[in-house]
């Protein structure tokens, strides 16, 4: 077992392969990788900045939204109040009108009832006069009852 066998060829080839690898890496690979890393770093930084900006804008928008909401709330409150007032007014007006109408209808009905009662009374009196006339005819036994008598009896009944 020759652990320390000298192989100059292997040593020289080590230098050669290392040199080739160094050339390749130093010339083509590492600058590209470092450039890419730099780019990525910049990209990340810009992304972070952008995120911060977006966040700020979001916050602004949020506060704006809050403001708008508050304004809207106030408006809504006002509106509600107004509507309530208006509703109240309308309700009162309607109630008043309805009351008026109702009393009118009541009056009319009363008047009509009065009239109807008067008419009924009139016809009742007429009937009564007729009955009296016919009763008198029956009692007297003759038809002496002319137009004149009828008028008289009617007046009589009316006086009752």
């Amino acid at each position: 077992m020759d652990l320390f066998k000298l192989e100059p060829g292997l040593a020289i080839w080590t230098w050669i392969t290392f040199g080739i690898l160094f050339f390749i890496l130093a010339r083509y690979v590492i600058p590209a990788i470092l450039k890419n890393l730099q780019e990525r770093e910049d990209y990340i930084h810009s992304s972070v900045d952008k995120t911060a900006e977006v966040e700020k804008r979001l916050k602004d928008m949020e506060s704006e939204r809050d403001e708008i909401l508050k304004k809207a709330e106030v408006k809504a409150d006002e509106m509600l109040l107004r509507i309530r007032q208006e509703g109240e007014e309308l309700r009162q007006k309607l109630a008043k009108q309805a009351e008026k109408e109702a009393s009118e209808i009541l009056n009319q009905a009363r008047i009509q009832a009065e009239q109807e009662r008067g008419a009924m009374l009139e016809s009742l009196k007429g009937e009564l006069a007729d009955i009296i006339c016919s009763a008198t005819e029956e009692v007297v036994g003759m038809t002496v009852v002319g137009e004149k008598e009828r008028e008289i009896s009617r007046e009589l009944v009316n006086k009752l």
Partner: protein, 281 residues
């Protein structure tokens, strides 16, 4: 409690070493197992892909570890070239994995040691070193592949490269005079100072040598540990498999960690050596 302790002491101190000795003896005596072990770990011309499949004989002057080096280089080059061409802003798994390796080298190795300004210039070198070592280490854990870094020539070549870079960069960035002045400790006598400077000068070489030895020994010993557990099955009895396969599996998993760690350590240490040599004290 005391009884338990004595039993444990006996088991650990006498029985286990005895067993291991008897188990290990045939490993030394039998040429067959030894060569079987060595063929898995050492360099050679034959590439055995799977048991029962006859091994592929590579041409002359072309060895298995060299093949592994080529595969390593090709893997890294293909992956990185393919994915550096079609990079996107929002990466998917593969791109993240490939990028994070280089980012790891940048943020955990090069920038803390060298500083950002110098580190940017040196990043390709260290990321190449890290990726090369990591891939070469990890590829050995796949069956049919071998670890190229388990060969002293490969790690030695890399360590010599680091050594040469230490001198070259040191001379270029701070000058020859200051480079040697850094070695001389301030506030000591001339004799002791020169001695310490000499030791420091030697330690530059020792550090690089240890760099090579460490990586090589880690890779070699890790694979040997896995194989040794498995070879016990041949040596002792087939029933040894119940013990040695879980142990080998455990070692295998440990080896994954060690592979990554050694790649990191090699890169980090070479980074520290080179940047230390090229800085004014």
């Amino acid at each position: 409690m005391g009884r338990c302790k004595t039993v444990l002491k006996n088991v650990l101190g006498k029985i286990v070493p005895l067993c291991l000795f008897f188990f290990a003896q045939p490993l030394f005596a039998e040429d067959n197992v030894s060569s079987a072990l060595s063929s898995h770990v050492l360099n050679g011309h034959g590439w055995d892909i799977f048991p029962y499949i006859p091994e592929i004989n590579l041409p002359e002057h072309f060895t298995v570890h060299l093949l592994m080096l080529f595969i390593t280089t090709a893997l890294i080059a293909i992956f990185y070239l393919a994915f550096s061409k079609k990079q996107v802003l929002k990466p998917k798994k593969t791109q993240i994995a490939l990028e994070s390796l280089i980012l790891f080298v940048r943020d955990d190795i090069v920038y803390p040691v060298m500083g950002e300004e110098r580190g940017r210039k040196w990043l390709p070198f260290y990321s190449t070193l890290f990726l090369f070592l990591l891939t070469a280490n990890l590829i050995g854990l796949i069956p049919a592949f071998k670890t190229a870094t388990g060969n002293i020539n490969v790690t030695g070549a890399l360590a010599i490269m680091v050594l040469i870079l230490t001198f070259v960069v040191g001379f270029k960035e701070i000058g020859v005079k200051d480079f040697f002045k850094n070695l001389y400790p301030s506030g000591t006598g001339l004799g002791i100072g020169l001695f310490v400077a000499f030791l420091e000068f030697l330690s530059i070489f020792t550090k690089s040598m240890v760099l090579a030895i460490r990586l090589f020994a880690n890779m070699f010993a890790g694979h040997m540990a896995i194989l040794s557990f498995l070879v016990l099955i041949i040596i002792v009895s087939p029933f040894m498999g119940f013990v040695s396969v879980p142990f080998a599996a455990f070692t295998y998993l440990l080896e994954v960690l060690i592979d990554v760690l050694q790649a990191l350590v090699f890169t980090l240490l070479s980074c520290i050596f080179i940047s230390n040599a090229s800085e004014h004290e």
